[in-house]
C-alpha cells in the first residue's frame, strides 16, 4: 500500500505507461523466447533418429525382378520386418476372407509384428495363413484377421512403385470406407518398388469372430 511521502511503491502499477527500457526488455525477452523455441526445434531435429536406406525405419528398394509371383508364398524381408505378399486371383476368391474388407489384387508389405500385443507371427504354409504363437491370432495373406484376440487387420508399410528414372507411378492408397491401405498394382514401365518402413498404415478395425467389423 502506498504511503504519502515514503517511496514504498513496490514497482510500477499497471497504470504507468511503458518506458523505453521496459519495452526493450520485453523485446529482448521475446527474442529469448523465440531463440529457445528455435533451440527446441534444433534439439528435436538433432535428436530424432534418421534411418538410412536398408535400415529398418528407412526405405527399402526392390527391383521388379525380385517381387513374388501372384498367389505365391509371402516373401520374407527380415531386415525390413515385413512380408511381401502378392494377392492374385486365388487370394481374391479365398472363402475365408471377411466380406467387410474390399480386396484388390496386387502387392502388400505387411508388418511382421502382430497387432495384438507385439509378437512376431509366423507364416504357416499348411494352413495357408499367418498364425501368432502368443495368443493365437490368425490372419490371411491379405492381412485380414480371421481369428484370435487381435482387434484389427495387420498393419502395412507404405509402398511406391517407381519407374527407371525414379518417378512414382503408383502408391498405396486408402481403400473406400476405411484408412486401410489397398494393395498396389504394378503398372507398365515399373522398375522398382520402394517400401518405406518409416510409414506404417494401421489395419482396419476387425473384432467379429471369423473376421469382420
Amino acid at each position: 500500500m502506498t504511503d504519502a511521502g515514503v517511496q514504498t511503491a513496490p514497482g510500477a502499477d499497471a497504470g504507468v505507461p511503458l518506458s523505453r527500457r521496459e519495452f526493450l526488455n520485453y523485446l529482448w525477452g521475446a527474442s529469448m523466447a523465440v531463440f529457445l523455441a528455435g533451440g527446441g526445434g534444433v534439439t528435436l531435429w538433432f535428436a530424432l533418429p534418421r534411418f538410412r536406406e536398408g535400415e529398418f525405419g528407412g526405405v527399402f528398394t526392390l527391383p521388379i525382378a525380385e517381387l513374388p509371383a501372384p498367389d505365391s508364398q509371402p516373401t520374407d524381408f527380415p531386415d525390413g520386418r515385413f512380408w511381401l505378399v502378392n494377392i492374385g486371383d486365388a487370394g481374391l476368391q479365398d472363402p475365408r476372407q471377411p466380406k467387410d474388407y474390399s480386396l484388390q489384387p496386387g502387392l502388400k508389405a505387411i508388418y511382421k509384428v502382430c497387432v495384438h500385443l507385439g509378437c512376431v507371427y509366423k507364416w504357416v504354409p499348411t494352413n495357408d495363413r499367418f498364425e501368432c504363437p502368443c495368443h493365437g491370432s490368425k490372419y490371411l495373406k491379405s492381412g485380414a484377421r480371421i481369428d484370435g484376440p487381435a482387434r484389427r487387420n495387420l498393419d502395412v508399410f507404405f509402398i511406391e512403385v517407381l519407374d527407371a528414372n525414379g518417378n512414382v507411378l503408383s502408391r498405396s492408397e486408402p481403400t473406400m470406407g476405411s484408412q486401410e491401405a489397398a494393395a498396389v498394382t504394378i503398372p507398365a514401365g515399373a522398375a522398382a518398388l520402394r517400401i518405406d518402413t518409416g510409414r506404417r498404415v494401421v489395419g482396419a478395425v476387425n473384432s467379429k469372430p471369423g473376421g469382420g467389423i
Partner: protein
C-alpha cells in the same frame, strides 16, 4: 446429495471477489512464487530500472530462492566493470556450462567403443542435423575455456587476490585448472582417429615414467586399462570425461564460488589500504545491485557470447577434420600433443623424462597450489610486488618458449626427403596436394625443377613448393636431387599421385630414392575443412 458437495477453495475465492480479481490475485501469487519474492509490479520495476523502494523486494529472491541464493545481491562499484577482473571467472563458468550442454547433445550419438566410435563421428557429421555444429561448438568452447581459465588464474595472481583470506579459494582454483586440463585431454581421445590416439598416447606416456617402475607400470594400467590405449582406455577416458571430472569440477566449483562470494570480490589493489580487505564492507553509495544491473549485464554477455560462438562455429572455425581411423601400429609423421600440453612436450625434449616430465611439473604444481601459503606479503599493490609480477611474466615467457619447443618441427625430423614429400602430403592434415582442385591435377609426369612449365596454376604452385623444399635435401652427402610428381588415372574418379625424390649419394655414387603415393578421389572434399 453429499458426494457432490466438493469443496474447491479456488471457486470460493472467485465467488467472493469476482472472477477478474480472483484471476489477477492468482497471477500475482504465481509470479511471486516463481520469482521467489517479486510480484508482477516488482518485476516491472526491475525491467524499468525504477528505484526499488523499501524494503527492497529484489533481495528476496536471493534470500529465499534456490537459484540466486549464492549470487551476491550487490557488487562493489569498483569490481563491477571490466577491470580488474575482466569477468574471466564468470566467463570460465559460462564455458563450463556451455560444454556440459553441448556435451549432452553429443552424448546422444556417441558410444565409447573403438569398434564404433569413429563410425559414430562420421554419422554425427553426415547424418545428424546440426551434428557438425554441435561438435564444432563443443571443440571451440573447450579450447577457449582452457585459455580463459589460464587468463583468470593469471589475473588473480597479478591482482594479488590469492592473499589472506582467499588462500583456499586459490587452491580450489588450481584444482579447477587441473580439472579443466584433464577434461580437455580426456575428451581429445573420444573421436578415436589418428590425431586423438597419438596425441593422448604421447600425453599419457608420462604416467608410465613414474618411478619406481612398479608404480609407473600399474598407474599406466589404471589410466589406460591396458598397456596401450584400446577399448578399456577409451571407456575409462569417456567415464572420466563425462562423469568423474564433471562431478569433481562441480564440487570444486561449488566451494570455489561460495568462498568468492563469502569473502566478496577483492577490490582493485589500489582501491584499499595495504593489508586490509574491505571487500565485504560495501558502503551504500558504492553498491551495484544484481537486479537489474548485474542481471542485465550477465544476460547480455550470454546473448553476445552465444551469437559469437555460433557464428564462429558455423562460418569461421571447424574442429580438426577427422583424420583416418586410429591405428595403433602407425604413428603419423609430425604427430603432436594438443597445444595446451606443448609445453610439457618441450620440457621432455630437454632431458631425462622423469625429471623434466614428472618432477619439475609436479614441483611447479605444488608451488602453484601452495602459493598463497608461503607468499604472504601483506600488500597487493603492483608497486610492492615487483618480484612476483616479474616472476609471473617470466613464467608466461617460459611457457611460450617451451610450447614452441614442443611443436613437432623443433628438434624432431626424419630424413629430408621424407620431410620434402611431407610438405605436400602431410600425415596429420590434408595439406596442399589433397586440398588442390581435383580437376586441375592433369595426368602426366612433372619434374619439380620444371614447375613453370606445368599446364595450370595449381600444378605450378604445388611443384614450386615441392622444388623449394627439395633444396633442403641437397646436402654434403646428397647431390643431383630431383623431384617428380606423377599423376595417373587409376579408376573412375580416382587419381593416383606419386611423389618421388631421387638423388646421388656423393660418398659412393649410388642412387637413392624415396617415393610415396596417395590416391585422390574427385569427391574427397579435403579443401572444405571437414
Amino acid at each position: 446429495m453429499a458426494i457432490f458437495r466438493l469443496h474447491i477453495p479456488v471457486l470460493d475465492e472467485v465467488k467472493r471477489k469476482g472472477l477478474r480479481t480472483a484471476l489477477n490475485d492468482k497471477w500475482v501469487d504465481v509470479v511471486t512464487r516463481v520469482t521467489a519474492g517479486l510480484n508482477p509490479a516488482d518485476v516491472r520495476g526491475v525491467l524499468r530500472d525504477d528505484p526499488p523502494g523499501r524494503p527492497n523486494p529484489r533481495l528476496t529472491p536471493h534470500a529465499e530462492g534456490f537459484w540466486l541464493h549464492m549470487k551476491p545481491t550487490y557488487y562493489h562499484r569498483m569490481v563491477d566493470g571490466f577491470y580488474p577482473t575482466f569477468r574471466l571467472g564468470w566467463l570460465s563458468t559460462f564455458f563450463g556450462v556451455f560444454e556440459i550442454v553441448t556435451g549432452i547433445y553429443l552424448m546422444i550419438y556417441y558410444t565409447p567403443s573403438p569398434v564404433v566410435a569413429y563410425e559414430n563421428m562420421l554419422n554425427l557429421l553426415s547424418n545428424v542435423p546440426f551434428g557438425q555444429l554441435m561438435r564444432d561448438l563443443h571443440r571451440l568452447a573447450a579450447e577457449l575455456m582452457v585459455i580463459v581459465v589460464v587468463l583468470h588464474m593469471l589475473r588473480t595472481f597479478v591482482t594479488g587476490s590469492y592473499k589472506k583470506p582467499r588462500q583456499f579459494t586459490w587452491a580450489t582454483g588450481v584444482i579447477l585448472l587441473f580439472v579443466t586440463l584433464v577434461l580437455s585431454f580426456s575428451g581429445y581421445l573420444l573421436p578415436w582417429d589418428q590425431l586423438s590416439l597419438w596425441a593422448v598416447t604421447i600425453g599419457a606416456s608420462m604416467v608410465e615414467a613414474i618411478p619406481p617402475e612398479i608404480v609407473g607400470r600399474n598407474v599406466n594400467l589404471l589410466v589406460r586399462g591396458a598397456p596401450e590405449f584400446g577399448a578399456n582406455g577409451l571407456l575409462r577416458f569417456y567415464l572420466l570425461h563425462v562423469v568423474g571430472l564433471p562431478l569433481a569440477g562441480i564440487v570444486a566449483f561449488g566451494v570455489h564460488y561460495y568462498k568468492v562470494i563469502h569473502h566478496g570480490h577483492s577490490l582493485p589493489p589500489e582501491g584499499e589500504k595495504v593489508g586490509e580487505d574491505t571487500a565485504k564492507r560495501v558502503p551504500m553509495d558504492s553498491r551495484v545491485y544484481f537486479m537489474p544491473e548485474i542481471l542485465t549485464r550477465e544476460l547480455w554477455y550470454v546473448a553476445g557470447l552465444l551469437a559469437v560462438l555460433f557464428a564462429a562455429a558455423a562460418y569461421l572455425y571447424n574442429a580438426p577434420a577427422l583424420e583416418p581411423h586410429a591405428n595403433p601400429l602407425i604413428t603419423p609423421l609430425h604427430t603432436t600433443a594438443p597445444w595446451y600440453f606443448l609445453w610439457l612436450q618441450g620440457m621432455l625434449k630437454i632431458g631425462d623424462k622423469v625429471i623434466w616430465g614428472l618432477v619439475i611439473p609436479g614441483v611447479l604444481t605444488g608451488l602453484l597450489l601452495l602459493l598463497p601459503y608461503f607468499e604472504v606479503g601483506p600488500s597487493r599493490r603492483y608497486g610492492d610486488r615487483r618480484i612476483g609480477l616479474s616472476l609471473a611474466a617470466l613464467f608466461v615467457a617460459a611457457m611460450a618458449l617451451l610450447s614452441y619447443m614442443g611443436t613437432p618441427h623443433y628438434a624432431v625430423s626424419t630424413s629430408p626427403d621424407q620431410e620434402a614429400v611431407a610438405e605436400l602430403l602431410p600425415q596429420t592434415h590434408p595439406g596442399p596436394l589433397r586440398s588442390a582442385p581435383w580437376d586441375d591435377l592433369a595426368y602426366g609426369s612433372y619434374e619439380a625443377a620444371a614447375w613453370s612449365a606445368a599446364p595450370n596454376a595449381t600444378l605450378q604452385d604445388l611443384l614450386h613448393r615441392y622444388d623449394e623444399v627439395l633444396t633442403d635435401v641437397q646436402s654434403a652427402g646428397r647431390a643431383d636431387v630431383a623431384g617428380r610428381m606423377v599423376i595417373e588415372d587409376w579408376q573412375t574418379d580416382l587419381k593416383k599421385v606419386t611423389l618421388r625424390v631421387t638423388w646421388t649419394n656423393t660418398a659412393d655414387g649410388t642412387a637413392g630414392e624415396f617415393s610415396q603415393s596417395v590416391y585422390l578421389h574427385r569427391d574427397g572434399n579435403y579443401g572444405q575443412g571437414a
